[in-house]
């Protein structure tokens, strides 16, 4: 897999559901200095991504289960892989459930949630069984569409916004709040875990560190554009009342000179659906891939079907939007707090083994 594809996979899994509530989270915690929080969160995400990429590059052509088994033992590796499975399963199930709620509330009022959830699951199933190469190519194409739409929509929104609502850009006394904002932005930076399910080849992927860093920077720039254009339109005082802040801000923009495209929400919804599809598909792939490592005898298709069926059933559990959103926040935080130290320990073990070899 090429470096560009890997970078777009990172984009596909990270950029999507997390962005919809990001302006609210940042406005609440960092006010107009939210862009600083995004940069801090990017730095944290870069560290997590680099650790995973390093592990992949050190253990060529192997994925998380393989190298954790090498570095520890089968039993520990199984438990650690299960952590990834549970994390990714919770992520895509909740993203699917919550985004279905958003679509139901905004465009498809009478369509039942189960129908929306099913649509995402069957399309994700179709993509997942085609393998990571197909998904990677999808990520490249869809990624470009999402970036293009995102930049155009939000630059148009800027023209309708008010520059004064974006200020003050930086308040030195609020630095601690900016760090709080960065923690609250974690959901928008979740997803680098997918690199645990992708084998790297040193010869082909030696510049992946730069590619992934550049992609994280691009994601950060897009988040900053989204955040700034949203607060230019709505102001921080208003945006905090909306869980779907980004969507609400877009709906407050009307450009009569664009004629039939005067309402930007129509284009926004298309790009949002595509990005949600990528989020779900990649998390599903990660879940099924890790599971297939633990159960090598069961076919990949059967595992995918079982995982998606279970996810459908979990989506039917009675859960309000707020409960789901809080659970997703907690899952992304817990994922970061558990998986990052695990990866760091594995990295240290790799280093120790490497130096042992050298000594020998």
């Amino acid at each position: 897999m090429s470096n560009r594809q890997l970078a777009f996979i990172l984009f596909g899994i990270m950029f999507g559901y997390g962005s919809i509530g990001l302006p609210k989270a940042l406005a609440e915690n960092a006010a107009t200095g939210g862009w600083v929080s995004i940069l801090i969160a990017t730095l944290l995400a870069l560290i997590s991504t680099t650790i995973l990429v390093y592990l992949g590059m050190t253990h060529q052509n192997k994925t998380f289960y393989d190298y954790s088994k090498e570095l520890s033992e089968k039993y520990t590796a199984t438990i650690l892989t299960l952590l990834y499975i549970v994390f990714m399963f919770i992520m895509f199930t909740l993203i699917n459930k919550l985004s279905s709620d958003v679509f139901k509330q905004t465009i498809l009022r009478n369509t039942p949630n189960w129908a929306l959830i099913t649509v995402f699951l069957i399309t994700a199933y179709y993509a997942v069984i085609k393998g990571i190469d197909t998904i990677a190519r999808l990520c490249e194409v869809y990624g470009l569409i999402i970036i293009l739409f995102g930049v155009v929509i939000h630059f148009i929104a800027f023209t309708q916004g008010d520059l004064i609502r974006m200020q003050p850009f930086f308040v030195a006394e609020d630095l601690a709040n900016y760090f709080d904002g960065a923690i609250k932005a974690k959901l928008a930076f979740s997803g680098m875990a997918i690199f645990s399910a992708i084998p790297f080849i040193k010869k082909q992927n030696h510049t992946i560190y730069i590619y992934s860093a550049m992609m994280l920077l691009l994601i950060a720039m897009l988040y900053i554009i989204q955040f700034e254009s949203s607060i230019a339109v709505m102001g921080i005082d208003s945006i905090v009342f909306y869980r779907d802040a980004l969507f609400t801000a877009i709906r407050r923009v009307d450009v009569p000179s664009l004629q039939f495209l005067r309402r930007l929400d129509a284009i926004f919804i298309i790009s949002f659906i595509i990005s949600i599809f990528l989020n779900i598909t990649l998390f599903v792939y990660g879940t099924v891939f890790h599971l297939s490592k633990l159960l090598p005898k069961v076919s990949f298709r059967l595992l995918a079907f079982a995982v998606l069926s279970l996810s459908f059933l979990v989506c039917q559990l009675p859960m309000s939007f707020d409960e789901g959103a809080n659970l997703l926040e907690t899952a992304s935080l817990a994922g970061g707090l558990i998986l990052n130290p695990v990866n760091l320990i594995l990295l240290l073990l790799s280093k120790v083994k490497k130096s042992d070899k050298k000594v020998c």
């Binding site: 369509t111 039942p112 929306l116 649509v119 102001g235 208003s238 407050r252 009307d254």
Partner: protein, 382 residues
Amino acid sequence: MTKKYVSLLLVIMLPTLLLTGCWDYHDINMTNISISTGVDIVNGQIEYTGEVAKIAPAQAKGNENGGGGIGVYNFYAYGKDLEQARAAFDAGVPYPHFLGAARAVIFSTSYAKQSIAPYLHRIAQINDYRKTILPVISRDHPAELFKLKVESDISVAFLIEDMMSSLTKQGKAIYPTVGHLLSDDDIKTIGELIPYVGIEEGSIKYLGLAVLKNLKMVGTINLKDTSGVVYLLAKKPSITENLPGIENKNNTFSLLTSLKKRTFNTDYVDGKLIINIDMNFDATLNYQYYTESTDEKKLKVLEDLVAQSIQGKIIKIIAMSQKEFDCDFIGFAKYFRAQHPLIYRKINWEESYRNADFFVNIQVNIHNLNLADPNARTLYFK
């Protein structure tokens, strides 16, 4: 191979069947397309009124209210609150009401004095309402407005929206949307302005601006005084200034001003709020009532006179906001907060604003005589 295509077909077909095809499909003929909404208080009850588009079959029969073959009909419903009034409306219409095409929402003065917040929040949260819809306050009952036969546009709401949109494009008015009002209200320390309309000589007219404090109407600004507001708030204000002749007292200079640069600088010195307003204008001498020669010196005098006129209008509006309405409806708090965030968190803005000192500095440059040459002379000049 066939199996592959069958599964692909299934993937394509299922979403089509599961989404709009089954649940959210609505034929346009089976929908009440709302053009406008009016909210009033009549005999202690909420009056929910407005205009609904007549779809094709109605056009064939002709219509009384609309022009150009597109018609509207009016509706009236009453209830103790918004929900009951809406329920009363729903009980008498054949199809579900669609609000996404509404052009304007018209509040009566009596309703606006109580607070338009409930209806604005309704618009913000109800899915199909456009958040960029134009809100206006009417001096006369909205029901009276809807009864008027509009000759110049499709319907009352279209007329109001087109009128305000055209004036705003020309730089002679402001066009706040529901979204703007809600965003400003959430700041809590600033007021809002909203177009004020009414019936004059049998037709609907833009009468000026209504001032809102916490989304409650506290007064109005006459149309002739709104220039000061437009100079301060419009994106590209462009207003005609008339000045008496300098040598010929019967003459009048008609100048069109256009804003080049506007900055609001705020400060807080010894517990006193100071606001500096600096504005640069270009002006075009449209024409003179009687041709009077102009030279550089005279143009300089004219520039100073225009600057004084603009300054006077701005100072008048600021004085109104500080004394008459006791409300920062221009929104200087946004600028102060951006420039001095830490001080803003500590002070009582309303009190500071009441006693604030304003310094208004206006520069005007007449750069264009509209291609006229008032100094031209012929051989026969007397």
